[in-house]
């Protein structure tokens, strides 16, 4: 990067089911809070980037006009689960190149509009026509992973137990009740071997972060916050034949690039917010990120290495499994969590002496691809 880019404020509404709120109703309050907390007047904003997948036309403009924020470019971004993080990547790139000084990034989604069930995928996709849904994709990853390694269904359950334990400490989480391995395994079957408590919930949410150049940060007199040490976006690559579903190439490649950009190694990370849409994902990503050797991800979860007091706290917020997963909002909410953790504002779930954080979202069910998009960011406390 040519210029240092900083996250100078974050705000979000707790993820939940807000049946009487529109995209505007979800996003305007954190937008106002993030600007106030940054000490930025709306006239100082150079550009707005808005991640969402199901908001419809001009979602960003509909939100911003409510506070009279206009004129400057507003960019609406759809990259499925990576929408919000892609918006951050675009904002960060524009600041790093010196094109703008202050950007507002909004991630917002209202999944209750669909009434529940699996996420609607593109009806034009070949496998969607055949009946694929995201729980089935992750379930097939799980079946194969359990077949190839010593991991068991209990390990999949342990991921959910950890997520709920963390979520119980997070006032922004959709689920704040702890669960046991027995409860996870006994919950309703969704797609074998995944049970309901191994799947992220349907919900609504919005999160906002303000990004600033070094110059703007000095002008505003901001201290603390965090520096963006790496911002990486990759797209999936088609495979017509064999694909190893237990080694997600797009996430591995993105992580390697992010470590190289930041100049750090996996062991340097104090916390990670990763894309645990289904519990199997967390195990597979431990390996993709170099936290565990091939086939040994379950050791980390069994030994408590990825909870508070462990070597790296994974999903201190509760992750998608407990905090919730309003698709376009998730990537921005992860960065908000990193911001609060690295600036010592995470309350009961504070990771001790957190200096380095990584966030990861990947998504989009598309035939022939591991995932459509993957975004990884690494942050250093400023």
């Amino acid at each position: 990067m040519t210029e240092n880019v900083h996250v100078i404020s974050a705000a979000m509404i707790p993820f939940a089911k807000y049946r009487t709120s529109s995209y505007v109703g979800l996003a305007v309050p954190p937008l106002i809070d993030a600007l106030r907390s940054a000490g930025v007047d709306k006239s100082e904003v150079d550009a707005v980037y808005v991640g969402h997948s199901y908001g419809g036309m001009m979602t960003g403009q509909r939100i911003c006009k409510e506070i009279g924020l206009g004129d400057v470019p507003t960019v609406n971004v759809d990259n499925a689960c990576s929408s919000g993080a892609t918006a951050i990547h675009e904002a960060s790139t524009a600041i790093a190149q010196g094109l703008i000084d202050i950007a507002v990034v909004i991630g917002v989604e209202k999944l209750t509009q669909f009434g529940g069930g699996a996420l609607p995928l593109s009806p034009e996709d070949r496998e969607v026509k055949q009946g694929i849904i995201m729980p089935a994709v992750y379930a097939m990853r799980a079946t194969r992973y359990l077949y190839e390694t010593e991991a068991t269904a209990e390990d999949l359950a342990l991921v959910s137990v950890k997520a709920r334990k963390h979520g119980a400490l997070n006032p922004f989480a959709q689920f704040r009740k702890e669960v046991t391995v027995e409860e996870v395994l006994a919950s309703r079957a969704v797609a074998d071997p995944l049970t309901l408590l191994m799947c992220c919930p349907t919900g609504d949410g919005a999160a906002v972060v303000v990004l600033a150049s070094e110059r703007a940060r000095k002008r505003l007199g901001t201290s603390g916050g965090m520096r963006i040490a790496a911002s990486v976006l990759h797209s999936g690559h088609v495979e017509e034949g064999f694909r190893d579903m237990t080694r997600p190439e797009i996430s591995s490649r993105s992580a390697q690039d992010a470590y190289a950009q930041a100049g750090i190694e996996p062991k340097d990370l104090d916390m990670i917010e990763l894309h645990d849409a289904f519990s199997i994902a967390e195990l597979v990503y431990y390996e993709a990120f170099g936290l565990a050797e091939r086939g040994h991800a379950a050791d980390l979860i069994r030994d408590g290495k990825t909870t508070f007091g462990g070597s790296v706290v994974v999903n201190p917020s509760g992750g998608l499994l407990a905090k919730g997963h309003p698709v376009g909002a998730s990537g921005v909410a992860q960065v908000a969590e990193a911001f609060w953790q690295l600036s010592g504002q995470a309350g009961d779930r504070q990771v001790d002496d957190a200096r380095w954080a990584m966030t990861h979202v990947t998504g989009g069910g598309t035939a022939g691809l591991d995932h459509g998009a993957c975004t990884i960011h690494i942050f250093e406390a400023a």
């Binding site: 009946g131 694929i132 089935a136 097939m140 990853r141 074998d192 064999f242």
Partner: protein, 137 residues
């Protein structure tokens, strides 16, 4: 850069005209595939361009009826009852999503499977000669 005296219009692909994967071939009902005449890559479905070398010199083929079950799930949501669904790696290295029919022996990754047709529906099931615990991966 190629220069023309008048810009040529690109042509849309009528890929929604027929999106059935199962089709009648002289040898019987088979899944439709496409073979690239230039690089030899074989792909699922009807394509007009090769995803590997971008050649338009492609033609329809009947895909193999046998393959290896890469993975599967038994889906309990989104429809009535339980729906076993899996990825089958056909013998020409083309992967297809498929309904999997369960037999007396439980499914497991790595088993050999073959195409079955039941009216308009198609599925893969354990090969008749396959025995339990006999892996091919």
């Amino acid at each position: 850069m190629k220069t023309e005296t008048a810009a040529k219009a690109s042509a849309a692909i009528a890929d929604m005209e027929n999106d059935d994967l199962l089709s009648a071939f002289p040898e019987g009902p088979r899944l439709l595939g496409t073979r690239c005449g230039d690089c030899g890559r074989e792909m699922i479905g009807t394509r007009v361009v090769c995803s590997s070398c971008v050649s338009s010199n492609v033609g329809t083929i009947a895909l193999p009826t046998t393959g290896t079950l890469y993975s599967f799930t038994r889906l309990h949501v989104g429809g009535e009852g339980i729906r076993p669904l899996g990825y089958v790696d056909l013998d020409n290295d083309v992967r297809t999503l498929a309904d999997i029919r369960e037999g007396d022996t439980p499914l497991e990754p790595g088993i050999r499977v073959e195409l079955g047709v039941d009216g308009e529906n198609w599925f893969f099931a354990r090969e008749a000669s396959e025995t339990k615990g006999h892996h091919h991966d």
